[in-house]
């Protein structure tokens, strides 16, 4: 069953779904950062596609020629793919001003890639009412610009339908994660990342269908993954499933994560209340969602991580932080302190985007697993 998702990921970044969508004359809009509401793109009749960098760690010569090396390798990797024409299929690109890496990437994208439609949303760092107002105004403006670009209004009815569809994806992914709470989960952490990756480059209608089938198969299967210790992976953007696989090959059982490509992507549903427009409901969800390390106060994120640790009975946390990923790097000492207080050790790894976790990283992971085993 997992093969179906691998098949989708095998053409990257333009999947067969993207090609099909384009050939029907419809738009494809790339989004960068989880603070961009996908529902709005979907409600406009366009296919939202997540922009990521190369699937593996790469020599980033073109990327580094345009973005100085003190920009993270994620932003340089994305830019290099775009510079080499791999994102030419996009009709638009939408970003969030969440960190400097993504902002500079967006600046250069606009200047050199020349995608037809582009917009960057200002994302407040707080959860206050005035922050919500600001964010709602950004989301509203984005919707208006997109309507002008598409040449048709995005109706409330369409938004409600999109919300329902995306909430279904979130509910299904929660079911998938719930399966990992068992002693011997039927799916590995690296497989889960492959599933999510596929979902970023296909219509949610088809993804939900596949997810439903996968959950059915897994619920009935007697596949069991055993491991030496239950782990959670936290930190910077991570898309290469090989990284998690290399941890699991050493006997680590990755049961959950705090990643913008996984848990932080799907965790909260959009709540449609009486008296709230669909757009207001969307804006509230996206700003209040399981936060990125760039949000303040940090405890909002730490408390959610601690909750994950309890729910999934995590014994050790692997933090992987891309060099120059400032928000995550700055938060790490605080997180380690919080987790130390509940007696959960953290393995802190410095990585580049796309790392497969080989070499010295593997030694550290092995030693960490030995340490966790010795604690039992």
């Amino acid at each position: 069953m997992i093969e179906k998702f691998r098949e989708i990921n095998s053409s990257f970044p333009q999947t067969s779904y993207v090609k099909e969508h384009k050939s029907s004359g419809k738009k494809v809009i790339g989004w960068l950062c989880t603070y961009v509401p996908e529902e709005i793109i979907h409600a406009a009749g366009a296919l939202p596609v997540r922009i990521t960098g190369y699937q593996q760690e790469q020599e980033l010569d073109d990327g580094t020629a345009y973005l100085y090396v003190n920009n993270c390798s994620f932003s340089r990797s994305c830019l290099q793919l775009a510079l080499r024409g791999e994102y030419d299929f996009l009709d638009g690109v939408v970003g969030g001003s969440t960190c400097d890496g993504v902002r500079r990437l967006f600046d250069l994208w606009r200047k050199y890639i020349g995608t037809d439609f582009h917009q960057i949303l200002s994302i407040p760092r707080k959860f206050t009412e005035s922050a919500h107002e600001l964010y709602l105004s950004q989301v509203t403006q984005f919707k208006q610009h997109l309507e002008e670009f598409i040449g048709a209004p995005i109706t409330d009815e369409a938004l409600v339908k999109s919300i329902e569809l995306y909430n279904e994806t979130r509910a299904l992914l929660k079911q998938l994660y719930d399966l990992r709470k068992s002693d011997n989960p039927p799916i590995t952490g690296s497989e889960v990342l492959e599933v999510l990756e596929a979902g970023f480059r296909m219509p949610k209608e088809a993804f939900n269908q596949l997810l439903g089938e996968l959950i059915d198969v897994l619920s009935k299967s007697n596949a069991e993954n055993k491991g030496r210790a239950r782990l959670a992976v936290v930190g910077s953007v991570l898309t290469n499933a090989e990284f998690i696989k290399s941890i699991e090959e050493q006997g680590g059982l990755v049961v959950t994560d705090e990643l913008c490509t996984s848990t932080r992507y799907w965790s909260d549903p959009v709540v449609l209340d009486e008296g709230k427009t669909p757009l207001e409901a969307i804006a509230r969800r996206y700003l209040n969602n399981f936060p990125c390390a760039r949000m303040y106060p940090s405890d909002e994120r730490f408390d959610r991580i601690i909750q994950l640790i309890r729910d999934f009975r995590v014994e050790g946390v692997v933090s992987q932080i891309i060099r120059y990923c400032v928000p995550y790097a700055h938060d790490l000492p605080l997180l380690i302190k919080k987790l130390d207080a509940i007696n959960v050790p953290v393995l802190a790894l410095d990585v580049e985007y796309g790392s497969s976790g080989s070499g010295q990283i593997a030694t550290r992971v092995q030693a960490f697993l030995e340490m966790l085993e010795a604690r039992k």
Binding site: P345, D350, Q360, T363, R364, Q366, A367, E370, M371, A374
Partner: protein, 263 residues
């Protein structure tokens, strides 16, 4: 009963064979380009003249960066765990270990039973490791084994503001050309490396007793600098470079009894 530990490091390969709870034989050899050949060569060198053959050893366990490539090892354990285990055999009171190896440096916190409680490793670069010192010794044209003693004679260390292997080498050549004494250059480099090691140690937390292991701990100048910074006299065993292999031999014994208890 014979238990073997083999530690294929990036620069040196070490073997310790234990018999009746004591070290029966040991050796240190240069690591060659092929780990499998290095493994056989090192093990054979250790066993040479003892009348024991590889197959006579009841259980062999490998560690070090070449640990997965030892054909005659039945299991492997990371060098971090092995250093904690090995030092515990010599000094059960040790709570903090600094392992200074050929291509990396590790600070390890452990309990009184030889188990790791926390650890920090330097990042990918080889600055401030054994390989780095080898390179500088080469530039200065002095044998590696003399680096420590020569550095100790210095009274005015030349400050190095980098331990990047490439830049420090360039700086060392520049100072040599300016007529600086080799002892002052070496003392300056020891200062820079010990500062970096001290920072690693601070990240795991320094608790008494403190020990240094790995090849660099044979550099007396470095040990003196680290002792000064940490404020604790490091415990040094007879041959600190063998600690990883010793730990592996001790794990071999544990694994052997674990496996046999299960069967």
């Amino acid at each position: 009963m014979l238990f073997g530990g083999i530690d294929i490091g990036s620069r040196a390969a070490k073997v310790v064979v234990m018999k009746d709870g004591d070290i029966f034989t040991s050796t240190i050899q240069d690591t060659g380009p092929e780990s499998v050949k290095t493994a056989y060569m090192t093990m054979n060198a250790a066993l040479d003249g003892t009348g024991v053959k590889i197959e006579d050893i009841d259980y062999i366990l490998a560690t070090g960066y070449g640990r997965v490539l030892v054909p005659f090892a039945e299991a492997n354990v990371s060098e971090i765990s092995c250093h904690a285990k090995g030092i515990n055999w010599y000094f059960p009171s040790v709570k903090t270990v600094l392992d200074m190896g050929g291509q990396d440096c590790k600070a390890i916190g452990c309990d009184g039973g030889g188990k790791v409680t926390s650890f920090v490793m330097n990042d990918k670069c080889a600055g401030g490791t054994g390989r780095f010192l080898e390179m500088i010794a080469d530039v200065l044209n002095i044998p590696l084994s003399e680096v420590g003693n020569i550095a100790l004679q210095s009274t005015t260390a030349i400050p190095f503001n980098t331990i990047c292997a490439v830049f420090a080498k360039t700086d060392a050549i520049k100072y040599l050309k300016q007529g600086a004494a080799k002892k002052d250059i070496l003392s300056g480099l020891n200062e820079a490396i010990s500062t970096r090691s001290y920072n690693l140690l601070k990240r795991v937390g320094i608790e008494k007793d403190f020990a240094i292991t790995g090849g660099i701990s044979k550099n007396s100048g470095m040990v003196a600098k680290i002792a000064e910074k940490v404020g604790l006299e490091p415990l040094l065993c007879e041959d600190p470079q063998l600690i990883g292999a010793l730990g592996a031999a001790l794990y071999a014994k544990d694994k052997y009894y674990l496996v046999n208890a299960q069967n």
